[in-house]
Amino acid sequence: MNAISKRLLSAVLSSVICLSVFACGKEDGSTDAQGIYGGEAVVGITQEPMVFDPFTVEAAGDKEILFNVYEGLMKFDHEGHLNPCLATDYTISDDATQYTFTLREGVLFHDGSELDAGDVIYSLTRASELNPELSAISSVTDNGDNTVTVTLDAPNSEFLSYFTSAIIPEGSGETIGDTRIGTGPFVFESYEPGIGIVLTRNENYWNPELPYLDKVTFKVCADMDAGLIELNGGSIDIFPYLTADKAAQLDPSQFNIQTLGSNMIQGLFLNNAVAPFDDVRVRQAVNYAINRTDIIDLIMNGQGLELTTAMSPVMGDAYDTALDGTYSQDIDRALELLADAGYADGFDMTITVPSNYLIHVNTAVAIADQLSQVGINVSIEQVDWATWLDRVYTGRDYQSTIIALTSDYAPFDVINRYHSAADNNFINYSNPDVDRLIEQIPLTPGEDERIGMYRELLGYMTEDAASCYIQDPYSMCAVASRLEGYELYPMYVQDMSTVHLVSAD
C-alpha cells in the first residue's frame, strides 16, 4: 500500500468542504445498510453523452455516468480515498516499477461471465495502447495465484490512481462502446440521443449490499435553467453542477443541497507570450487589482474557495498554505507595478470567454469592472466552445481568457501542464526551474521530498504570477428529499450505488 497516496488522500478529508446547506434527517452521508431497496431516480445532466468506450472516454460528463457501469482494480470513494475494488489487495515494489494486485473472486460481468486474470491483462494492455495516461505500462503478467503484476517502463510512484481504469471482458474491446459490459453496480440498459441513458440494477454485483435503486436515468437537459425547471416540476431528482444563486431558488423542504470543493481551477488565464502579459509586473498588477472575495460573492454567492496559485487547497499537503493571501487586493501596489512596466495610464485588454459557461462570462464582467479601477480597459469577447478550444486552447491565439481547468485527483496532473514544452500549456508559461521540477517529481520516490518539490514549484509560479487564479468553485448538487445516500465526489463522479429512497413509495 502506497503510503504517500494514502496520506495525501486522507489529508484531503480535512480540507474537503463538505457541508449540507439544508440538512435533512440524516447528519451525513454514511450509508447505513438499512437503506430501502428498490425504486428509481432521475439525474439531470447538461451534456449530451458521447463516448461509452471506457478507454477512449474523455468528457467528464461521460466519465461520471460510466463510473456506475465500469470498475477498475482500484476505485475512489467520495472522500477521495483510493480503495481496492476488483482487486482485494495490492503491493508496490520499492523502486516503484512493479504493482501487484490480488484479484477479487466471484466477480461477474454484466453478461454473466466471471472475471479472471485474462480479462485484467487484456483490459490493461488495451488501456495502455489507447490511453496515453496508461502508456507507461510495459507489461502485465498473470502470476497464476490469482494475482497480476503490472510493470512500468520507468519508476513512477504516482501511478496507483491510474488503476481505476476499467476492466472489461477479454476480447470485447472493439465493441465495448456498444455492449457497455462492465462489472459496476448498474447495467447499461439503453441510450437515446438527446434523451438520456437508462441504467438498471446489477443483480450480481460483487458487493451484495449495493446498489439500492432498481433503475437510474440520466436525463439530458438543454441547460441549467431547463434542468431547474424540471427539478421543480419533479421530473428530475438529482441535479449536480448547480450554481449558488440557482440553488438558493430551490425549495429547501423539497431538496437537499450538497456542496464540495471541486478541484477545479478557475482563473483569468494570461497569455504569457503576448504583450503586455509577457511582463511579470503586469501579471502581478492584474493579480493585485482584483478582489477574489467580491468575485466569489458576486458570482457564486460565496460558494467558492479563493485561489492564489495554480493548485487548489483541496489537494492537501502538496499545496502550501503559506501562499494564501499573497495577492490580496492592493490597488496602490497594482498601480505602482503598472507604472513600472510603463503602463501608468493603463492599457486595453481583451478577455476571450467561452459563451456556454455563464459563470466565466459573469466573472469576466466582474473582473472588467474591477480592473477599470487601475485604468485597464477590458473588452469581453464571447466565443463558442468549439472556437475557444480551437483558437484559445489549441491555437493559443488570445490575450487573456477565463476558464476552469479540471484535472485528475492527483497533484501531478494539476501542475504538469505548466512545463514549457507541454502541449496543453496554453498560457505559454515558461520557467526553467518549474520545468526541472516537473521532470523530477515522478522519479522521486520519497513522499516528503515530493511534497517539498510541489511547494517549491508553486512558489515559483506564484512569484511569476503565471496567471490570475481566482477560485475553486464548490460543486453543488440538489437532491430531492425523497432520496438519501447521495455523495458528492471531489472529482467527476455520480455514484448512484449508495443512493436510496427515504421511504418506500
Binding site: M50, V51, G194, A226, I229, G233, A386
Partner: protein, 320 residues
C-alpha cells in the same frame, strides 16, 4: 393550366436545388469557422495525441471538401451519414426529433387558426364597436409583447401557480399519444400567441374588405342574414386570401418552435441543430438543414395545394 405531374416535377427540382444550395452554404460555413469536432468531444483534458487518434477514427482528418462530396454522394442515395458526436445515423436522430418540432408547429398553427378566426369574425362583423376596439387593442399589445417573456410567464404560471405542467416531461407519440399532445400543449401556446396577433390583424382587415364586397351584397339581396353571410361567404374567402399569410406565419412558427423547445427543454430539431453547430458535427448539421429545406418546400407546396383545393380560380391556373 399545368399538369399535376409537371408541378410536382418542378417542386422536386426546386427542392433538390434548395437542398443542394443549403448544404453547400453549410459546407462553406464549416470551412471558415474554427473548431475541431474531435477536440470538442474530448475537451481540455485530452492530449493532442488522443485528439489525433479520434480525428482519424471519425475520419475528420480528411479535408472538409472530400467529406462534403462524400456526404453529398450519400445524400443522393438517401443516406445522410452518421453523426460524429452521437455516433448514430443522422436519419434516425432527426426522425426521433421531428415529432417534437412538427407536432409543436402543427398544434401552434391549429391554435392560431381556431383563435384568430373567431376573434377576427367577431371584430369584423361590427367594426368600430366596443368589442372590436377591445379585442383589437388586445391584439396590438400581443403583437408587441416578446414571445420570449410570454413563454417565461406562462411556464411560471403553470408550473408554479397551478402545478399542472412539467417542462421537459416529453412523451413520444408512439408511447402515448395523449401525453404527447399534453406535453407539447403549453409550448405550442407560447409559439402561437404572438402569431395570433398577426393573423388576427390580417384576417380582420380581409373580412372587413369582403364584407363590403359585391358578392356579400348579392348575398344580402338574396335575403341572407349577416351571420349567414359571414359564415358562408366572408370567412371562406378570407381563408383563401390569407393562405399566403398563414404560410408565412407557419414558417415563423417553425422558427419559433426551435427557440421555444430550448426554453421548455424539449428534444426537438432546434436543440439538435444547436448541438450540431456547437460540436462542429458536419454530417448532422447538413442532415438537419437538408430536412429543413424539405419541410420548407413541402410547406409552400402544401399551401399551394390547399389554396387550389378551396379556390377554383387557382385550380384553373388563373392567378388572382
Amino acid at each position: 393550366m399545368r399538369s399535376a405531374a409537371g408541378t410536382i416535377l418542378i417542386k422536386i427540382c426546386e427542392f433538390a436545388l434548395t437542398a443542394l444550395l443549403v448544404s453547400f452554404f453549410t459546407f462553406i460555413a464549416f470551412s471558415v469557422i474554427p473548431g475541431d469536432p474531435a477536440r470538442v468531444m474530448l475537451g481540455t483534458d485530452a492530449s493532442e495525441e488522443q485528439v489525433e487518434n479520434l480525428r482519424a477514427e471519425l475520419g475528420v482528418d480528411r479535408p472538409l471538401s472530400v467529406r462534403y462530396l462524400d456526404w453529398l454522394g450519400g445524400a443522393l442515395k438517401g443516406d445522410l451519414g452518421d453523426s460524429l458526436s452521437f455516433r448514430t445515423p443522422v436519419n434516425e436522430l432527426i426522425k426521433s426529433r421531428l415529432p417534437v418540432t412538427l407536432g409543436m408547429s402543427l398544434m401552434a398553427l391549429i391554435i392560431v387558426l381556431i383563435v384568430a378566426f373567431p376573434m377576427a369574425a367577431v371584430c369584423a362583423s361590427r367594426p368600430g364597436s366596443l368589442t372590436d376596439r377591445i379585442v383589437s387593442a388586445f391584439g396590438h399589445v400581443l403583437f408587441a409583447v416578446p414571445a420570449f417573456a410570454l413563454s417565461m410567464l406562462l411556464i411560471l404560471l403553470f408550473t408554479k401557480a397551478f402545478g399542472i405542467y412539467t417542462a421537459g416531461r416529453y412523451t413520444a407519440p408512439s408511447d402515448d399519444a395523449g401525453k404527447y399532445i399534453a406535453s407539447l400543449l403549453l409550448p405550442s401556446v407560447c409559439i402561437a400567441l404572438p402569431k395570433i396577433a398577426m393573423t388576427f390583424k390580417f384576417l380582420r382587415a380581409s373580412m372587413i374588405e369582403f364584407s363590403a364586397s359585391d358578392f356579400a351584397r348579392t348575398a344580402k339581396s338574396h335575403g341572407l342574414t349577416d351571420l349567414k353571410i359571414l359564415l358562408t361567404h366572408i370567412i371562406p374567402n378570407s381563408a383563401v386570401s390569407s393562405v399566403t399569410v398563414i404560410s408565412l406565419v407557419l414558417s415563423d412558427i417553425m422558427g419559433g418552435s426551435l427557440i421555444v423547445e430550448q426554453v421548455f427543454n424539449l428534444p426537438g430539431l432546434g436543440r439538435l441543430l444547436l448541438s450540431a453547430i456547437s460540436r462542429r458535427d458536419f454530417p448532422l448539421l447538413s442532415g438537419i438543414v437538408f430536412y429543413l429545406a424539405l419541410i420548407t418546400v413541402i410547406l409552400y407546396f402544401l399551401s399551394d395545394v390547399i389554396n387550389a383545393a378551396i379556390d377554383p380560380r387557382i385550380r384553373d391556373g388563373r392567378s388572382l
